[in-house]
Chain length 373, copies 4
């Protein structure tokens, strides 16, 4: 069955055009609505387009499925960022006016949990979750109504956040610059990683840094922790993951089908669809966020990227060549740079020339194998 | 007497060019070195060039003065940002690669004060200050030596910060987009505002947000607070101010002389020069940072800025006209926007067309007159 | 009477949004349609917004007029350029992907005049003009249908050009960077300059450089020349002017009314409206395009613009100060630059810092007074 | 033997830094200087870095060779463009201020050949060539000394052009966006294509479009044509080629060695080095410039590039998929686009999302095999 279609205005451009999001919706019939609600978005960073192809392939599959939980899908989630070109590439990582990263604009909820909890403590778990959800949504709506206005980036992000707060499962589809597939997953939810076709998982703590996944799960993790301190065992109600689906500026429908299949396996496991979709058997690895290292160019130059992403690199092995044609004939004309530690390079910078200090690579260190379910 | 000249490399561009800072230095003869040390920089944001002209005029004056305290001046403090054009304007507010605001990259010191203080408690005030200064500088140097490298912006900022940590008085010269002159001044140091020719002062708290002034005074304020809690009365040793010298993309040598004169009055008061320079008599106003409001465009359009900066604006008075030529013939073709509160507009956006959410104006509310000394 | 409203799609953005133009239309009743047809557009360069305000004020006037000739008005004529920000300013002068100047993308007609004329020589003047107009429009439409496609800029420009080819009077509203009001006017049409409130006129030859005015009049000038060579006296049928309405990034409704009044005087003179609107009495000056000089920065530095635009500047008088803070203490710290020739500075660069070679000023030389009608 | 090193200043940035070129020089001893002079440059477009690596590998080879003709090599030939980042990529195709393509700024010589030739007709061929060379260099130097200054781009280009005019062989090393290797070669010089390891050659006519190769050979071609018309057989004295060495934003030292080897084979053939280096045996194909087609996106969307560059594509075969997630569920959600003509795709756009009208592919049509020597 085709999804229903709607749209949401999340901004307005200087010349008057509305910025709108296309929204697709799969809904179970009322008697079958037994599964959790799902929210999936893609392309919040303008150059990270592959998530749209994954949503495309996923919707083609969902059309054939027996839907048990509501699914909302928002491709092209940042129309301003997607359309912002600078030279041949999409300048879609930050607001071109302010420099604000589009994925750091979500609302950091500041709920006074002691007060809130004491007012709602008598509710059942389900009622408590409902009430909390309403509180989160209301805080977002209040932000949108702020009497001094709200930035372009906040307006976009908080509108997305309201949709996300309506769901039990939130998937934010991104890519790296030149990147292998990897996953940001909160520590409490590590089992989810077993379903996706993503070899590397970053295990992230309960700290709000402004991103969608954190915006979606942090308040629930806090509620769960607070309840625990009050002696009540309340599982974290929301699962929120960021999937990094290889490199930006790339559309591959065949590979999108692979990732759609992984998401489907997870949705199947969670009861969102009635069909059973088995997860792919593969080795999966984890790394704590604190062990995820950025390596910055020690000097400037032209860069030959030597270490392939997604493959272990032993300490001392070549990472990049730095070519300095202004220094030809000196000892510094060509330097091979390596790292002092074993790691798995996950992504590298997109351009082949760098200023000193440019983030050359992000690598996982202290990588461990994730247990298979 | 001419200042001495040196330079400092703070980065390297892709094609190999060194990024260097010109540094000017006025030094008292040893027997006269009775005054505090001063550090003044300008143009950390690339389009904010007027501070250079102020340093120019200030140095012309200082050449004629009897110097009692060392003065270090760094114009053109961000060569990468200054040279980064996009269209006809300077794209100098943030790193074009990462979006990072160049004035939010300073090191946030994380000194374990209880331990540090207990180790140094027996020192005299002067020795304590010396020791603390060394600790701050060493932390910066350690940051620069980080084994995983350091971003382009941090390398620039932390190098500047090391120079600033050597001084007792730190002045960071900025401008707004379209702006009247205003000053960021920490609450403990409000007397300093009496010397500058700047009518509006933002009174800022002891919170680190990444800017140079905060980087320079926050650790000293913290030390002072901690000492107080230990029963020791230690004045905040460092004075750090950000001067916003009207609008960006503007050089005016005559107006620069006015501001140089104000700075000279402050240096005179502090004993940096032997000469007496009286401050200008003028009304000066203050506003707490919490009352400094950003107003965001409620809808998009072409903007006629109606409220002049630096002049009180009563609630309900016209702030801007928003012209919407796509809506000609409707009620929304031209909207006059006003604010619900009395204020003084301090600065407004530089462009005459805005997306919804663009920061249109920053205004001071609850403005009060500063006492004259 | 309100204009009628329509819109035209002239492109499509990456995320799927249509780029559309708002089009306003004043039409005489059939029995009164005695006047020429008019086409007016504004804001083809994204930062040059004042023309929209002029169209606003002009339409407010036209609503009260007795219309005798069809008038088509297209404000916001380049939605892609208007919405393209880079930092706080509009990057609207060229396509951010290709660098192509938006006002150099019009179709250069390559009509084989000997053949065309021999086929149409027997027509009356009116019929000839009709036939030629159709030929021009058809050539544009063919360009739009090109089997290998057409660039983003050409699609926009040629769509505008089709509308312009429908008119007898074409006004393209621009601004300079920091500029006084000036006019581009073809030599044969110099009388038109007498009606506008614009002190300086550039007299331009019959050479196609890609701009709208040239695209609109060049083919007609060529036809007229060719007919003359065949012994037929055919006036150039189309009047096409580019109005430069002071500076970019500026909206002033009051000043817009002044320029609307000037346009109205010209439309009155040409019989587009029944009302008589007298032109303002003022001195007007001309300069041949070959005498319009660009002065490029002889060295780099911070720029204090000394010569006001629109005021005569004698040879040797100060044009700019170039401040070089990296050279403080040397003879090159501050250089005052002047020109070797008397001139009237018309516009200067928008930013206060320049690389070597940046176009600092455009100045008229050999300025002469235009005769008053 | 190591090359000698020098540098040339070709500009100055706003904050005062000199823009300089590193220049490397191989020189035969005077008694052996029997070969032609060579000029090789790379990286005039900032993102096209691979040519530097080729120069690196070539110089490593030349150090081992018996040099018979002077060789000048200029890597990093556009320091401003190379260092200009916008987001993660290099915005190096055009001047960020003016939009001018850095490779369209060379001087178009306007030599009055009838006069010049009549004044020099009595010279021997060698003397004539010497005199003409001097005339070209002098025209460039005059351009640099222009009393109204010269643009940033012209200053860079004309300085490069002076060096090129000193040589008999000029190689300009570029890359495409996503591209296979191809060569721009003037028709008279097609034999040169036999030596390089480049499968596809564009055969270009004698028309000046602003690029280095044209700037270097057009005046000589014109001289040769003019002499022929006077009954004198004078071969075109200068060989000038543009090598497009695969994709931008890529450094590969191994592949650079391959292309260095091809250049070496050509230099060997021309007697620049004493050693014999045989050209690689491979099929090579040609296409006239008029048959080199640009295909523009017929509508906007996300792009899956299907046709690999460098491989023949039959008419009607899939070129790209255009994915429109805003149109999911309609017939336009996914369109496969093909071309009406057999071709070889040579390069495609770098980004995976396009506005309507973006140049998607450049393809050769009417491809023919080049004869092997």
């Amino acid at each position: 069955m085709l999804p229903t279609t709607s749209s949401l205005q999340i901004g307005e451009l200087a010349a008057g055009q509305a910025l709108t999001l296309p929204i697709y919706h799969f809904k179970p019939s009322d008697d079958k609505a037994t599964g959790p609600k799902v929210y999936i978005q893609a392309n919040v960073h303008g150059a990270e387009v592959q998530g749209n192809a994954v949503i495309y392939q996923l919707m083609k599959q969902l059309e054939l499925c027996d839907i048990r939980g509501e699914i909302t899908l928002v491709p092209l989630a940042n129309p301003l960022g997607i359309n912002q070109k600078s030279g041949e590439f999409t300048l879609g990582r930050f607001d071109p006016i302010t420099g604000a990263n589009w994925n750091r604009e979500y609302l950091n909820h500041a709920i006074d949990l002691p007060t809130w909890y004491s007012e709602h403590a008598k509710l059942s778990d389900n009622e408590l979750i409902q009430a909390y959800r309403s509180t989160l949504v209301e805080a977002c709506q209040q932000k949108l109504r702020h009497e001094w206005g709200i930035t372009t980036g906040h307006r976009l992000a908080v509108n997305l956040q309201i949709m996300a707060h309506g769901a039990d499962i939130v998937l934010d589809l991104h890519t790296g610059p030149k990147s292998c597939k990897h996953l940001y997953c909160p520590e409490y939810d590590l089992a989810a990683a077993q379903f996706l076709l993503i070899p590397y998982t970053l295990v992230i703590p309960n700290t709000f840094g402004g991103a969608m996944d954190e915006a979606a799960f942090c308040p629930w993790w806090q509620l769960s922790d607070f309840a625990k301190a009050q002696g009540r065992d309340l599982a974290v109600a929301v699962s929120a993951l960021t999937l990094e689906l290889a490199s930006q500026e790339r559309v591959c429908l065949e590979d999108a089908l692979v990732d759609a299949q992984g998401i489907l396996a997870y949705l199947s496991h969670r009861g969102v669809i009635a069909e059973t979709v088995d997860p792919a058997k593969m080795q999966r690895f984890g790394c704590y966020l604190k062990d995820y290292k950025k390596y910055h160019a020690p000097s400037s130059g032209l860069v030959e990227y030597l270490a392939p992403v997604g493959e272990p690199l032993a300490a001392g092995q070549p990472l990049v060549n730095l070519l300095r044609m202004d220094l030809y004939g000196t000892a510094d004309e060509l330097k091979t740079v390596s790292l002092p530690q074993d790691c798995v390079p996950i992504l590298h910078f997109a351009s082949a020339s760098v200023h000193q200090g440019t983030e050359l690579y992000k690598v996982m260190t202290h990588v461990f194998e994730l247990p298979t379910t």
